[in-house]
């Protein structure tokens, strides 16, 4: 099932993280950011992929 977006605002990710998310087909709205002020880091994309692979839901 579809998880809820974590925030309404534009996700805080840097250009390189955004590019990689595009390539991986990840919607950044669903990714939790662990960087300063909730910024989404490369490691957050890795964690997201791992959790998806493990079939976990995000955003809970």
């Amino acid at each position: 099932q579809q998880a809820r977006p974590l925030r309404g605002q534009r996700p805080a990710a840097s250009p390189a993280v955004r590019r990689r998310a595009d390539e991986l087909g990840i919607k950044l709205q669903y990714v939790r950011g662990s960087g300063p002020s909730g910024r989404i880091m490369h490691s957050d994309l890795d964690a997201f992929l791992a959790s998806e692979a493990a079939g976990e839901t995000v955003g809970s």
Binding site: S14, P15, R19, D22, S37
Partner: protein
């Protein structure tokens, strides 16, 4: 490797968008042809746009700076200006760059095809011979006519990068004293000149001609110079040129241009409109229109809107999915760095990469004296759209580096999201504003907040410190000025 096609990729037009796209496509392994009607690569930007204008603006700047040093005890005589030599120097700068592009194309095995390209089917283009040059384009009537010796090439993918040209006002007399920016770059100096259009291009050329000794007037239809830019950023420029130019007329319309023997007679309309005036030259700089209607797009099934723009999606694809379009021909802002960014993206997408245009901001720069640069959300826009913002600003009269440059008329401001303190926009007026704005662009792309900018140590004394100071002013931690009542913000 184009399969049944001559090329994997044909790029139409070799401006900053087109050559970047072609080079990137080649680097990604495609067999590429770059079709260009002019003898050199580089498009408007290198041949008759960004580069020659900036070279002349540098000359203007040096003339002004030399003059300003008189108060500092360094006195130069009035410079002797050899316009032929200046033109030659400018052309050398241009040809060094366009020549460089030619070499880069060779190194990458990008085949440059000289000629006028037009679609004849979704996978084919005809190329007509031409002797068009950047200088002859605008006046040429024949550009819609199919040329001699046409041949056909076929392609798997195509990127349309055919750019734009100066808008011609309807009903103007055909007279060599009425020029566009291309003509203005020839710096055949008149005594008295009118610039129609107070946008960036018009004001940059005004700046050059003023420094070279022409008596300049500017007329602008809307209520201020450089529409789209915040008024506080334009003000230092306005103040400076108000003293220097003959006349600056805003909210004024030009209703008639007549070619008389003694000059061009111009009739004005509006509150501040003067009596009809006679100028030695009139520069028409009222905008640029896209070349979308001149490339036979219909033969490929590519949609072109009524203004000549080609609609594209976030991957720069037109409605025909193997045909992309980039640069001036797809819409505003018509800027070289937008064109090249899009060019890269289109090549990558054509090669199968899953990319989107997701840059948040595209900076704008007017290379006038003082320079003006802005990026992201402007105050004007924020107010109009109800985007919440707060701002931190810093006057350059309190910036040490600015004073050592003999200048105190600059200003830097940064706009922040009041809640997150994130940088959402910024504007700078003053020498080198164009270079300085990149830091704010990076800050926006990186989601930096005021604390990030304020706590990054900037070298002293530099103009770049004003970016940091603006963030500190917003945060209430600034020491380089006294901002009463403001208390430090908790975050």
């Amino acid at each position: 490797s184009g399969g049944s096609y001559d090329y994997d990729m044909v790029v139409l037009g070799a401006g900053p968008g087109g050559y970047t796209a072609a080079f990137r496509a080649a680097d990604l392994g495609m067999k590429v042809a770059l079709v260009e009607r002019w003898p050199q690569l580089g498009g408007v930007c290198l041949n008759v746009g960004c580069i020659p204008s900036k070279a002349l603006l540098h000359a203007a700047k040096v003339i002004e700076e030399a003059h300003e040093m008189e108060v500092a005890g360094v006195t130069f005589g009035k410079p002797k200006i050899d316009t032929e030599k200046l033109r030659g120097w400018k052309e050398k700068v241009v040809s060094k760059l366009t020549g460089g592009l030619g070499i880069l194309a060779k190194q990458r095995k990008v085949e440059v095809i000289r000629g006028i390209g037009k679609f004849v089917s979704p996978h084919e283009m005809s190329i007509a011979n031409t002797d068009m040059t950047p200088q002859s384009t605008v006046l040429s009537k024949g550009e819609n006519a199919p040329g001699e010796g046409a041949r056909k090439i076929s392609f798997k993918h195509c990127i349309i990068a055919a750019g734009s040209e100066s808008v011609r006002l309807p009903g103007l007399p055909d007279d060599p004293r009425i020029i566009d920016s291309t003509g203005a770059l020839e710096i055949d100096l008149p005594k008295r000149m009118l610039v129609i259009g107070g946008g960036i291009i018009g004001l940059e050329m005004a700046c050059v001609y003023d420094a070279l000794g022409t008596k300049v007037s500017v007329v602008e239809l809307t209520d201020g110079l450089i529409p789209g830019c915040d008024r506080d950023l334009v003000r230092p420029l306005e103040k400076r040129i108000a003293k220097r130019y003959e006349k600056i007329m805003v909210k004024t319309k030009v209703t008639k241009l007549e070619a008389l023997k003694q000059g061009i007679r111009v009739t004005f309309e509006g509150e501040q409109a003067p009596e009809p005036q006679i100028y030695d030259k009139v520069l028409v700089a009222v905008g640029r229109s896209p070349n979308g209607k001149k490339i036979g797009a219909e033969a490929a099934g590519v949609v072109v809107n009524e203004r000549g723009f080609i609609p594209v999606d976030k991957q720069m694809r037109t409605n025909v999915s193997h045909i992309f379009a980039i640069g001036d021909i797809v819409g505003q802002p018509m800027l070289a760095h937008k064109a090249s960014h899009e060019g890269k993206l289109a090549a990558e997408v054509a090669q199968g990469e899953k990319r989107y245009f997701d840059a948040r901001v595209i900076p704008s720069v007017a290379y006038t004296d003082p320079e003006i640069a802005w990026v992201g959300v402007t105050e004007t826009e924020a107010k109009a759209k109800g985007i919440p913002f707060e701002k931190g600003s810093f006057p350059w009269s309190a910036n040490a580096r600015s004073l050592t440059l003999g200048r105190d008329d600059g200003m830097t401001k940064v706009l922040f999201d009041p809640e997150t303190h994130r940088v959402i926009g910024g504007g700078i007026v003053g020498p080198n504003a164009g270079d300085l704005i990149s830091e704010i662009a990076l800050a926006i792309e990186m989601n930096s907040d005021a604390g990030d900018l304020g706590m990054t140590i900037h070298p002293h004394p530099t103009l770049s410190e004003t970016v940091m100071f603006s963030a500190e002013a917003f945060e209430g931690t600034l020491t380089d000025l006294y901002v009463p009542k403001k208390t430090a913000r908790a975050k």
